[in-house]
């Protein structure tokens, strides 16, 4: 009984380890999904739900962009805004086929959207699902510039305008620093009548930093975002004794290797195989010991029978 249970537990645990291994190592996703997960999700979020980069997996986005334009952006990038160029022709690491696979995957996230939209007009294109509820939302435009304030502090100036070029007043703009491990909040400011929101950052970076201003959008204007490369300054670091703990511009990026040994979507096969073999080895030894117990029991039973027989005689 007891050894049966131990055996069962052992087998169950083994099966578990095996399925887990199979799942992680040989998962059966479409090729584009894996590529997207590896190369794009860090900025565009899981399934393109958005993050540092815009949400490109949503129905709203896909409804308004055709494959050709998406492939073009992906291949060539938007250098000024922090979107890398991916095609081999532009110095990236993806082949044209791979890019096409990624776009096909994105398209599959929103099957209803057509892959050839005639216009990629900035106004929200009504899609079948969202049409009835969408009010007239005007596209907004955000620009970000750098100026120098007192003591050499950095002043970030974001200007928000509507589609028609008119400034939008009273909108909250949040500023952050984009890093490879997430956005560090720098603070926020409201736009004035000129559509200008300014934020003074007390410290000056010693190396170039990526800064982002973002407008969440409101009832009448759509969200927008703008990035800027802050150039380093000679009088680096903490201008007027800003707390070191909050030093978010001067803080260095962690030194992760670019293709990230820490960011592995699947376990490396050889070490994983070794690992599983060791675990299986230990459990086989357990099985061997349980077998010994089984034999102990059997030997006892046999002897009992023998005893009874002699007794009868």
């Amino acid at each position: 009984m007891a050894n049966r249970i131990v055996q069962l537990v052992g087998i169950a645990a083994l099966a578990l380890v095996l399925t887990m291994f199979a799942q992680t190592a040989w998962a059966d996703d479409p090729p584009g999904a894996k590529l997207f997960q590896t190369y794009c999700a860090s900025c565009h979020g899981e399934a393109g739900k958005g993050g540092f980069g815009p949400a490109i997996g949503t129905e709203k986005f896909l409804g308004g962009h055709d494959d050709a334009s998406m492939i073009k952006t992906t291949s060539e990038g938007v250098a000024a805004k922090g979107m890398p160029a991916w095609s081999k022709a532009n110095g990236g690491s993806l082949s044209d086929d791979q890019i096409a696979e990624i776009i096909a995957y994105l398209r599959s996230l929103s099957p209803g959207s057509s892959s050839t939209v005639a216009t990629s007009a900035p106004t929200a294109v009504p899609t079948s699902a969202t049409a009835p509820t969408v009010a007239v939302i005007v596209q907004s435009r955000l620009t970000l510039a750098q100026a120098t304030g007192k003591n050499g502090a950095v002043v970030l100036k974001a200007t928000l305008t509507g589609e028609d070029g008119k400034p939008i007043e009273g909108a909250a703009i949040s500023f952050s620093r984009a890093t490879s491990f997430g956005n560090l909040d720098l603070g926020s400011a409201k736009t004035d009548s000129q559509g200008l929101a300014a934020l003074t950052v007390a410290e000056v970076p010693s190396a170039a930093r990526q800064v982002v201003a973002a407008f969440k959008g409101d009832k009448s204007s759509a969200a927008s975002k703008s990035a800027l490369r802050l150039e380093p300054s000679d009088q680096a670091v903490a201008a007027n004794g800003a707390e070191v703990n909050n030093a978010q511009l001067s803080m260095d990026e962690p030194l992760l290797s670019p293709d990230g040994s820490l960011i592995t979507p699947n376990p490396p096969l050889v070490p994983a195989t070794l690992f599983v073999m060791v675990v299986l080895g230990v459990w086989s030894i357990y099985a061997l010991v349980v077998y010994q117990l089984f034999r102990v029991r059997k030997a006892g039973v046999v002897e009992n029978k023998v005893n009874t027989l002699t007794f009868r005689q």
């Binding site: 887990m20 357990y286 010994q292 006892g300 039973v301 009992n304």
Partner: protein, 512 residues
């Protein structure tokens, strides 16, 4: 033969009858456990906000308990397996106790992880979406392997004793006899059975050693594989393993002392057992101090920006009281208690006049301690370079005071060797619990991304009553399980201790 049985009767005594004191003790433990269950209900209902854990300091005393219990679980493996493999005869009466500690420490320690989770129902996700490249999954696998292995390792050498119980305790309640009958696997002690069992025991004794080492190494890797200051260290594996063995021996010594007293096992657990284990504890203590020095000196010497924050907090900042209590009270003091009575000879009569000064020395020592610990001038602002001499004076004062106390206590300690070893063990266990706390929390105070956009109190961690209650409950459950085990099965291996003969006994029918 007859005399032998009388000695063994002592071992069966706890299995035969329960005193009223035992029931009261269980009721007391159950009350604590009930209270902890209530606290956990509150935590499930309201979420982790009822604890002191927040976004940045997300591990606290739950994790401390986890590492602590996994640590003392090494008692069984090391003492029992290593001593068995190396054929140390004196291990015989203590192996069972040690193995039971292992099993119960694991049964209590492993679930601490689940208690630490805000959404325990998401635990299956660890398996469903587990990443084989994550140390968390390694931990899950190795702890599972270890629990199963130590259960088997506890059970195997118990089979002949279970047969003994089956044959002797014929007046036990039916359910108990049923358990003995099933678990003893029809043991008759014939040649075939002995051979099989012996093979099983030796295979397990050898297998369980690397498994145990791997478990604590993997626990350390959960910390070490991150890039965080104070955790990202190559010696963490061996450091944790040594720490585990260290606290495991200490836990075993405490358990031995309690069983010896309560179950009258003086004839089994003799002074020499405490002395040998005490020396083993001393060795581990010294190795652990060496590791600790090596770890912190390397960090402090390099003085990297990220490490600085942690070092500062430990040496002079928020955690300094705990840190120094642990170093001095948990490692140095027990070390001296274990070493000095062996090193210093009994004072000769000629030094009698000097001995009369003992009370005076004690008083002076206490005054010095009081003075140095209340001396102003050392606060969070002092830096690691020890810019002022105050800390140095303080250190000298403390050392002098400890020396004084020892001079006073020495004859007493020599007169009570067991008491001394056990007291040292208690101190070690407290020290090791604090050590785990000190490993986990200060690093979380110093995240790589600055703590931002959260209420200031989130940057600090203070355990709440919920956490303390659950911790108390965990310890109470451990003790309860252990006590119940000792009521159900002989806590000292009968066949292994009978006349200290290594042979497996012939079972039931042939005896008497």
């Amino acid at each position: 033969m007859q005399r032998q049985s009388a000695r063994e009767d002592i071992l069966f005594q706890p299995l035969r009858s329960n005193s009223i004191g035992f029931y009261l003790f269980c009721a007391f433990l159950l009350a604590i456990i009930g209270w902890a269950a209530y606290a956990y209900y509150i935590q499930l209902r309201d979420g982790l906000v009822v604890t002191g854990l927040r976004n940045y300091i997300f591990w606290g005393i739950y994790m401390t308990n986890f590492v602590f219990f996994i640590g003392i679980s090494h008692a069984g493996t090391l003492i029992s397996a290593i001593l068995r493999v190396t054929g140390a005869e004196w291990r015989r009466p203590i192996t069972r106790m040690a193995e039971a500690i292992t099993l119960f420490a694991l049964t209590i320690g492993a679930p601490m992880i689940i208690i630490d989770m805000g959404h325990p129902e998401r635990l299956p996700n660890l398996l469903l979406y587990g990443r084989l490249q994550s140390p968390i999954l390694w931990d899950l696998i190795s702890v599972t392997t270890y629990i199963v292995g130590s259960l088997m390792y506890l059970y195997l050498p118990m089979v002949p004793d279970l047969a003994e119980c089956r044959d002797r305790l014929t007046d036990a309640p039916n359910w108990k006899r049923f358990v003995y009958r099933v678990l003893s696997l029809g043991w008759r002690g014939n040649e075939e059975q002995k051979r099989r069992l012996e093979r099983g025991v030796s295979i397990m004794a050898i297998t369980i050693i690397p498994v145990a080492v791997s478990v604590h190494t993997v626990v350390s890797w959960i910390f070490g594989m991150t890039l965080r200051p104070g955790w990202h260290s190559t010696i963490f594996g061996p450091y944790f393993v040594v720490g585990a063995i260290f606290s495991g021996i200490a836990a075993l010594l405490v358990a031995m002392a309690i069983f010896r007293r309560v179950y009258h096992l003086e004839s089994y657990l003799q002074e020499k057992h405490f002395r040998y284990l005490g020396l083993l504890l001393l060795v581990m203590d010294v190795i652990y101090i060496y590791f600790t020095l090596s770890e912190y000196l390397t960090m402090a010497y390099g003085n990297e920006a990220a490490d600085q924050g942690v070092m500062q907090m430990l040496f002079v900042g928020d955690f300094a009281p705990i840190f120094w209590t642990m170093i001095l009270g948990g490692f140095v003091l027990p070390g001296l208690m274990l070493a000095l009575p062996n090193l210093v000879k009994n004072p000769s009569p000629s030094s009698a006049p000097l001995l009369n000064l003992r009370p005076l020395a004690a008083a002076i020592a206490l005054v010095v301690i009081a003075l140095v610990t209340t001396a102003p001038g050392v606060g969070a602002s002092a830096d690691i370079q020890m810019a002022t001499v105050t800390p140095v004076l303080r250190l000298i004062g403390i050392i002098a005071a400890i020396g004084g106390v020892f001079w006073v206590m020495l004859p007493f300690m020599q007169a009570h060797p067991i008491g001394t070893v056990v007291t040292a063990s208690v101190l070690v266990n407290i020290g090791m619990w604090l050590k785990r706390y000190i490993i986990i929390v200060p690093t979380l105070y110093n995240p790589l991304i600055p703590i931002q956009n959260v209420p200031t109190e989130w940057a600090h961690y203070t355990p709440t009553w919920v956490e303390w209650s659950i911790t108390a409950g965990a310890f109470a459950s451990f003790i309860l399980l252990y006590a119940l085990f000792s009521k159900m099965f002989p806590i000292v291996s009968i066949w292994e201790t009978s006349e200290q003969k290594p042979e497996l006994p012939a079972g039931g029918g042939t005896r008497g």
